[in-house]
């Protein structure tokens, strides 16, 4: 698995920076970094849901996006991935807008798993066929990793909530993404599934895949985050390394949020 990631990163690194770069730089280029968001706005129904948002993500690892309900977390994720066009501003991944070419190097896991009405294995094969030929060995190793190999032949819709989300994650990884975008993937899952998903996400991050993980679960953010982006009312209220954010939040909204006070 590591080899595959490296091979791919090598290809992209060649294109991006030919000069002898550090490993980190290779990984960054592979992960489509830096991500630069400038003056991003999204308006709907006369309201600014994302309001002239600026953000710059350069570090690899896991970035968690946090914030109270309605802060615009899920919306931001979709704008970053190019699923919806912004009202104004721009999103640039290593200088490129999130068009099809960029999307192909990314994968998204939705809060409510979207599974094809097929078997577990067929769900995997579908995305693998998009990228090329399905690879049974790789498919099975991914399913093994998320603990679904024994359920390969099961209809995906008969899986439990946790199993469905694990399948979504395995399917996302099957596309060999450089960036993995996750929209509250563990909301309402049992602890075992949460742990599995977190472990796989950390593993993926370790292999150089950039993770952007939306969550409102403080404990989870503490477990997995390398850095935190805290959103409030469609803007970035705070953007800090995880340790700093949890120890010494600088914005008053983040303070209130971490203290468990209601943030509107």
């Amino acid at each position: 698995m590591h080899d595959v990631a490296l091979k791919l990163s090598g290809r992209i690194a060649d294109a991006a920076s030919s000069d002898a770069a550090t490993d980190a730089a290779v990984l960054n280029a592979a992960a489509l970094l830096p991500l630069v968001v400038r003056n991003l706005s999204f308006r709907a129904g006369g309201r600014s849901l994302i309001d002239a948002l600026d953000l710059e993500i350069t570090a690899p690892g896991v970035t968690t996006v946090m914030g109270p309900n309605g802060a615009g977390k899920s919306l931001l994720l979709r704008l970053l991935h190019g699923l919806i066009p912004p009202s104004a501003g721009e999103v640039l991944w290593a200088g490129m807008p999130p068009d099809r070419e960029v999307q192909k190097q990314q994968a998204m896991v939705f809060q409510k798993p979207v599974l094809l009405r097929r078997s577990v294995a067929d769900n995997m094969d579908f995305v693998m066929k998009l990228a090329g030929a399905p690879d049974v060995e790789r498919r099975d190793s991914l399913l093994q990793e998320v603990g679904l190999l024994p359920l390969s032949a099961q209809p995906a819709r008969l899986l439990s909530g946790g199993e469905q989300q694990r399948l979504s994650l395995a399917r996302a990884l099957a596309t060999n993404p450089q960036v993995l975008l996750l929209d509250e993937p563990t909301a309402s899952l049992d602890p075992a599934s949460v742990m599995t998903i977190e472990r796989i996400v950390k593993d993926a991050s370790g292999r150089g895949i950039k993770i952007i993980f939306v969550t409102h679960d403080l404990a989870q953010a503490k477990r997995i985050a390398d850095e935190v982006v805290f959103l409030h009312q469609g803007r970035v209220a705070e953007h800090a390394p995880a340790a700093d954010f949890f120890e010494r939040p600088t914005s008053s909204v983040a303070c209130d949020y971490l203290a468990g006070r209601i943030v509107l």
Partner: protein
């Protein structure tokens, strides 16, 4: 009341006696309507899927048109096909009037809008579910269409059954373009119309009962297929 009892008795004795003429008519009815259904499914599922998955100016109009054509009177379809296939008509050289092929064409025209309109709804609903995933995966349009059609296949059985029901039950179109010719284009419905016009109401009703039984068999087959799939959570 006596008529009903007589009709049921007659229906059973017709079927049990293995009446050759009856089975010829039943076989032709099935042949014509199933062929029309297959053609309509190929065209209708295709049209329905294209309209479901694409956005173009006038799309709303197309949907209204499909829904309107669902109510096409069979006689009107029969008349249009007659005018087209008549020797004096534009397609007269084909020599298809008064043949099973003409009946298949008429029934295909009759039920394609039904298949297209109903499948569009089903495909569109499923596609809404898949939409973000497909865009995230940058699935090409033709792959998306194939995937949605395939995944909706069990729901589409209901659509096909609706089309089949309309085709096997209509009389207006096949009467005009088929001509109700004995041993050539006589199907269940035109035979019923004929016996009614001969005043042999019991026989007409008996044929109606047989037709209903055939329809029921086909529907039961289709629905059992669907419910099996339903239990497997594919539908």
């Amino acid at each position: 009341m006596q008529d009903f009892a007589e009709a049921f008795r007659l229906a059973f004795s017709l079927v049990l006696s293995g009446d050759a003429d009856l089975f010829e008519i039943i076989w032709l009815s099935l042949q014509v309507s199933l062929t029309a259904l297959l053609i309509s499914c190929v065209i209708g599922f295709g049209l329905g899927t294209v309209v479901a998955l694409s956005r173009f100016p006038g799309r709303g109009g197309v949907i209204v048109l499909f829904n309107t054509l669902m109510g096409l009177p069979p006689v009107v379809v029969g008349l249009l096909v007659y005018l087209a296939l008549s020797r004096a008509g534009p397609l007269g050289v084909l020599g298809l009037l008064y043949t099973p092929a003409a009946m298949i064409i008429a029934q295909s025209i009759l039920i394609t809008p039904i298949i297209a309109a109903l499948s569009r709804q089903i495909v569109e609903d499923l596609f809404c579910e898949y939409d973000e995933l497909f865009r995230s995966l940058t699935v090409p349009l033709h792959t998306a269409m194939a995937a949605v059609l395939w995944d909706a296949r069990y729901s589409l059985i209901t659509v096909a059954l609706a089309g089949f029901g309309r085709a096997i039950a209509e009389v207006g179109a096949v009467m005009i373009v088929g001509g109700n010719i004995d041993h050539l284009t006589r199907v269940m419905t035109t035979a019923i119309a004929l016996e009614t016009s001969k005043g042999d109401l019991s026989l007409a009703l008996a044929l109606g009962i047989v037709l209903l039984a055939i329809s029921m068999t086909v529907n039961a087959l289709g629905l059992s297929l669907r419910s099996t799939a339903g239990r497997q959570a594919y539908a």
